[in-house]
Amino acid sequence: MGFQHRVMIGLGAVGILAPFVVYPIFLMKALCFALFAAAFNLLVGYVGLLSFGHAMFLGMAGYAAGHAAKVWGLPPELAILFGTAVAAALGLVVGAIAIRRQGIYFAMTTLALAQMVYFFCLQVPFTGGEDGIQAIPRGRMFGFLDLADTLTLYYVVLAIVAAGFLLIYRTIHSPFGQILKAIRENEPRAISLGYRVDHYKLLAFILSAALAGVAGATKAIVFQLASLTDVTWQMSGEVVLMTLLGGLGTVFGPIAGAFIVIALETYLAQMGSWVLVIQGAIFVVCVLTFRRGVVGELARLVNRPL
């Protein structure tokens, strides 16, 4: 059994036991963001495309799932599925436009499109504007798992996030993932080897968008709320922070990054504007001293990929 597999099993065990030690709602929030960051990392870490508009997938999926559950009365599994489908469809459109550009221009294109999505969410009536969609019912998963119970909900979220994470892990280590890495390292060479680079990039983009959508839809069900916060550019910035802090292009980095950032936000909530100062200082220190991120530096210490 490989080292990464052992780490994964360890993490799974921690995940199963964690709600008895740590407040479960905090864990669920962090888990949703971990999946979001992992989906983002798939794009930036393995294809080399930095999206600065990923919040649109998180937020739109949340709205879609919330609307489906509240207005159409769909059960949670279908609501999440619908949210994911919406995010994937949006990913197809945005990806088709954005992947023609590279580097900073790719980032700016995604930012521009995300701002338009934000505006759309602000204007259309079904999102509830500033109030968002509130009081989304949690319902019963598959008709028998009562999600009103916090622990049941936690294990459902854990299962969803773990599944999403495993999918990302499989993708990275599949031939498809190898081609993505080849594109990241040297795009012209990948083209000359006969790969339809755009095709692969678009697929990766849609996959990343869909998984961000899973995270957003799940989050909406957990918090019974879908709001504008999740579509702002600040949210797109936050996922960059999580991924960078955890370790760009590492398997476990986004998870670590998401937990650190969410923990900071939760436990520093008393500090008011000092939160900004502390967050900013972490950014600065991170960029100046450990650019590989927490997990990246750990991996270097134990001398194994993580």
């Binding site: 909530a269 500090m271 008011g272």
Partner: protein, 403 residues
């Protein structure tokens, strides 16, 4: 095997949950949730926390054998952040009362959770009249003000004084739309007319374009259905573009004493607006301010701070009388007891959760009239409690018995 352990741990968790509930009977925990870092940090923020602490001190809670603990957090004006904090407070930290909560979207989210968990929600900062209307719950008391009261106080007075045609600069989000609708209803009800409105994005820096459109509308009154930095920027630039000199009047619909302070009287003079409290009203409010201001870098208390103080005071009375921290029972007791505190005087809480008291129409003084620091307001009119708030029957609150 794993399943068994999980089940055992589950049972254990259930047990500790019960233990916690018993423990929470011993102490009344108040969570002040508001904006500690953003747009509304000065009107709510630390000031509300301090006001709550002062109320506990003045009530002599410790001497009366009620153990009170106050915690606070920053909701950053985001409903998701706010609701996450409230859930954690209630589930894990044993918080019994959520207080303040400016920003209507956050307040509405908190309102749902507090009802679901049967705790108590003491609103001071939020403006949405829905909290005591369509979204009312048996667990919520709304203290200081709401959109309806603001619209009613300011718009009615201005229309009566001859300002009968209105143009709105409205912040393009739920709060702005709601405020605009409320004011428009009042204006039309008093035989005035609304000639137009422009919706500006939240946090706009430059209002000159919108002001010019308002100017072109020839309306007598330009109503500012926005808040915080948007309002102050609009007022500042209206001065620059000579709106007042052109014969048009500005009506700030939600203005706090800290806003007037940041504008300076040179620009703010002559503005009329409705509030429920002014620090220089009477000896009690001045004494309160004297203790309050040094703790928040000299800022004087806003009506929201005063509302938190008065609300917590009344809450403690109810706790003393009812000897419970059960949310619905507490609120029932609060509605039953008449209110009486140094800042709002005598009043009561209606069955829909609305606290009723006088509202005041103030006008910002001219620089010449201002005799000492923070001497900003003069009273134009007192709106008696009976007509200051939306009539009980009009709110559509399900708690109100149809009869």
């Amino acid at each position: 095997m794993k399943l068994k352990t999980a089940l055992a741990l589950l049972a254990l968790a259930g047990m500790t949950g019960v233990a916690n509930a018993q423990l929470s009977d011993g102490v009344l925990k108040i969570g002040v949730l508001n904006d500690q870092s953003g747009l509304y940090a000065d009107v709510t923020g630390q000031g509300s926390v301090i006001a709550a602490r002062m109320a506990v001190e003045d009530f002599g809670a410790a001497a009366k054998g009620i153990k009170v603990e106050i915690v606070f957090a920053d909701h950053q004006n985001k409903p998701d952040v706010g609701s996450a904090i409230v859930r954690q407070w209630i589930d894990r930290d044993g918080v019994d009362v959520i207080a303040d909560v400016p920003t209507s979207s956050v307040a509405l989210a908190v309102n749902e959770i507090v009802k679901e968990k049967n705790k108590m929600f003491l609103v001071s900062g939020a403006a949405s009249a829905a909290l005591t209307g369509s979204a009312c719950t048996p667990n919520t008391v709304h203290w200081t003000y709401d959109n309806w009261a603001l619209a009613n106080g300011t718009a009615k007075a201005i229309v009566q004084a001859g300002g009968d045609s209105w143009y709105f600069l409205t912040a393009d989000y739920a709060f702005g739309h709601d405020l605009e609708a409320q004011v428009a209803a009042v204006v039309k009800g008093a035989n005035g007319k609304v000639v137009g409105a422009v919706r500006h994005p939240l946090s706009t820096a430059d209002f000159s374009s919108f002001l010019l459109q308002a100017q072109a509308s020839k309306a007598k009154v330009i109503g500012l259905a926005n808040a915080g930095g948007d309002t102050t920027n609009a007022i500042k630039q209206a001065g620059e573009f000579g709106i007042a000199k052109g014969g048009q009047k500005l009506a700030g619909l939600l203005i706090f004493v800290t806003d007037v302070h940041s504008l300076g009287l040179q620009i703010a003079q002559g503005l009329q607006f409705t509030e429920s409290f002014y620090w220089d009203q009477n000896d009690a409010s001045r004494a309160f301010t004297k203790r309050f201001a040094p703790q928040v870098k000299g800022n004087h208390p806003t009506m929201i701070h005063a509302g938190v103080y008065a609300g917590v005071t009344h809450l403690l009375k109810a706790v003393e009388a009812a000897k419970t921290d059960d949310g619905a029972k507490l609120v029932a007791k609060m509605k039953e007891l008449p209110t009486d505190d140094p800042l709002f005087g005598k009043g009561r809480i209606r069955e829909d959760g609305r606290k009723v008291h006088d509202m005041y129409l103030f006008e910002a003084k001219t620089p010449a009239e201002s005799k000492h620091p923070w001497d900003y307001y003069k009273l134009v009119r007192t709106i008696p409690a009976a007509e200051a708030f939306r009539p009980l029957a009009d709110g559509g609150c399900s708690l109100v018995k149809k009869g």
